[in-house]
Symmetry: C2
Subunit: 462 residues, 2 copies
């Protein structure tokens, strides 16, 4: 090799959705095909799609599956990324710097070497080991393929009774989707209240709203069996106490990092089973392997602990950071504060930072306040109730967490708290923030500040 | 006076709206009538009302004037505040610690002594010295009395042509109100674009939207005369170049701090004519005099300079801080970042931090980017365009300002930037923020982060 000649490196990406393809695209932006060959493997039929959009596609808000696809395999290939669809990586050979790939339809298997590797294998839905769990009509909703299968199943089902197992984000969003499709919906939930990402006193408000929408909420209930008919199709969901007739079942119990490949290769995983990386998203101890998206654990900046959060917005950020670093630039992911927003029909749900049990686990002493106010000036048409719960550290007054349940404008208001948590502001400082005020958009004291004002009082009196 | 006996102090408050009555109420919460006598003077007919709500009352969104009143004089009196309505303070005697009050209807005049004084005299609308400016049918909209006079005038007017002079917040909100009342509206504006609180390239988007609503926008035009009829009522508004027929005229040219009393008493005012206070809202150099609301100048935390901002949310905060300090507690107002939100029908307008000319004036070198994105995931129904302009400091990358024009969800998104400005975050740090994401509420990259990502690139290349 003569001086000045460039080495062409090969980047291999495992996983063709948000994190993997953001990484590939960003690396391509920074380094042309002469410098960097990019090979990406995806075992499904789709690339770069919005999994978070699936409930809205199933519910009919989004008409066409293709609208959820940000960039098709062809578009990636046009940009110089060798994206191999329906091809699964079945082994990572870290020492040999190569991966073994296999066509999903069984057409062949081969080794591909890499100089740099990105692991973006995502998460897999929790699927309890229950009799009948594999019956026709029982669906996860993790991938676009899953969504398509569910929609096909809804078309095939003769009845209109749906059971959703789990009452987290996916569960409540799918309950809404099925209500919109005209189904009678029952949500079977292990916890005492839906949305265990909220404290129970706030989850209770979600249950009330869901019940008001005609959704049957079964709390404190563990599914013991999926009852099937002679045709092998689901008939009902059984708990210890009762049986709930079902023409279709949606599993929304949560997800776990998909890291079986990485673990088999000896890469480090944390307490939640997610890959552990440094701040540049490099897998710890491995100079040339990066990981991002739903398969990694991330640092929670409020508790100082690792967490697993499967969310498209983090996956996109990870991908961009990895691509920047692989492409010769420099970028880091400082961590998360645990922000999440959702809705059930017109009820908006938001949280950021720590719940009470998170604060206790982190060894923090805290005060908590809950306020009821409105999202607009009370006299402005459409002003609807909004409940804000806030946690602040005792003595220091540092903001620790916010949960909001309300109507229009409730969800994204949590961003104020998300930025304040990142900056380490106290509730007294939050009360002084210069937030947007006009009667159509906010009362003269923003709901977040109604809460922070009360929290500041609680801190002083603690 | 025997030991243990408490001195009963007298607090005098000048101005019975947001700042004054918040101060009085907060002081009363902390100190009972045995310790603190509170006397408040208000020259108008209303106390503690939302002046910001006036456009929505005039426009018909708010039906009843009383809805804008947060607390009536009677309610204040029931809480032990001696609120004297229709009574104007005409002199402050700082040395003698007393104020001279006069009934507006001329029924009498007297001196009242104080131990502590709160000045909350608000702002007065700019009223240019023009021929015909005092004609019937020409209205400011600063107070509830003004709003009532305008509504009476609309009922009295025979035609349906309105001219709004000025295209700032009040001007655009009043233009919407009058359109909703079925008027033909012309807005006559001195500047090249409406909303001079935005940079012209963003103001231009507001002009386009207003024109689309059927509002006639006359830019670069100075009013020279109000043309009146034989009945003394307005007929038209004249500029150097043209005459615009008008059955009613609304002045929305802006406001100035109402500090004539304070200046006559030798209290310190700044470059904008507003009272100067310390961080506890004490008038500088005067231990027992506080001031807050529209009559004071506030520190802009981004430019490091004093500004005058007339806004109910600041007035309420000032009042609470003053009341806390007067009541024996401790509270401070750190300053503002210049956040403001508004709307014209469904167009939302927001700004925070510095415009380009503010940055230049402050001696800052900056980069600027503008992005067009959507407030929801592109595939989600109702996803509408949103334009975000962002300023960042060259080299340091510190966020300096954000302006947003768009549809649903545009206005309050500026809060993300408002908190980030307060915390001194860089645009790179803004790009890493953990903001709420779900397709109905945001694209996977929030519009603020689409802008900050681009701004971070501009900073690196600057």
């Amino acid at each position: 090799m003569s001086a000045g000649e460039r080495v062409r490196e090969r980047l291999v990406v495992i996983g063709g959705d948000a994190a993997g393809m953001s990484a590939a695209s960003q690396a391509r932006r920074l380094r042309g095909p002469d410098e960097l060959e990019i090979v990406a493997f995806e075992r499904g039929h789709f690339s770069s799609y919005s999994a978070c959009g699936i409930p809205y596609w199933v519910g009919g808000d989004v008409e066409d599956r293709d609208q959820l696809v940000a960039r098709s395999p062809e578009e990636h290939r046009e940009r110089g990324i060798d994206l191999r669809m329906r091809t699964e990586v079945v082994e990572i050979d870290v020492t040999g710097r190569r991966v073994r790939a296999r066509a999903v339809d069984g057409a062949g298997e081969y080794w591909t070497s890499y100089d740099k590797l990105v692991i973006a294998t995502g998460a897999r839905p929790v699927r309890p080991e229950l009799p009948g769990i594999d019956a026709a009509g029982v669906h996860g909703v993790q991938t676009l393929d899953d969504g398509q299968a569910l929609l096909d199943s809804l078309r095939a089902a003769t009845g209109r009774r749906a059971v959703v197992v789990g009452a987290g984000y996916i569960g409540v969003e799918m309950a809404e989707a099925l209500i919109r499709r005209g189904y009678e919906v029952t949500v079977v939930n292990r916890g005492a209240e839906p949305m265990s990402t909220l404290d129970p006193d706030m989850g209770c408000l979600v249950r009330e709203a869901m019940t008001g929408l005609g959704i049957t909420m079964v709390d404190d209930a563990e599914v013991t069996k999926v009852v099937t008919g002679g045709d092998g199709r689901v008939r009902a969901v059984a708990t210890r106490d009762a049986e709930y007739p079902a023409d279709v079942v949606v599993l929304g119990i949560g997800v776990r990092p998909e890291t079986s490949l990485a673990r088999a290769a000896g890469l480090p995983v944390g307490a939640f089973g997610g890959l552990l990386t440094d701040l540049s998203m490099r897998v710890r101890g491995h100079e040339d392997i990066w990981a991002g998206g739903d398969c990694v654990e991330v640092l929670d900046l409020v508790s100082g602990r690792e967490r697993h959060i499967a969310l498209g917005t983090h996956a996109n950020k990870h991908g961009r950071i990895i691509g920047t670093n692989v492409g010769g630039g420099y970028a880091t992911f400082p961590g998360v504060v645990g922000t999440a927003v959702s809705k059930v029909c017109d009820l908006e749900i938001a949280r950021t930072g720590l719940r009470e049990k998170d604060a206790r686990r982190a060894g923090l002493q805290y005060v908590t306040v809950t306020v009821e106010t409105t999202g607009r000036a009370r006299y402005y048409p459409g002003a609807a109730p909004m409940t804000v719960k806030m946690l602040a550290e005792r003595d220091s007054g540092r903001l620790l967490g916010v949960q909001i349940v309300g109507r229009e404008g409730a969800a994204k208001r949590v961003d104020i708290a998300a930025v304040a948590l990142t900056a380490g502001l106290t509730v007294e400082q939050v009360t002084s923030l210069d937030l947007g005020y006009a009667p159509p958009f906010s009362p003269v004291w923003d709901p977040i500040q109604v809460a922070s004002r009360k929290a500041a009082g609680a801190v002083r009196n603690a």
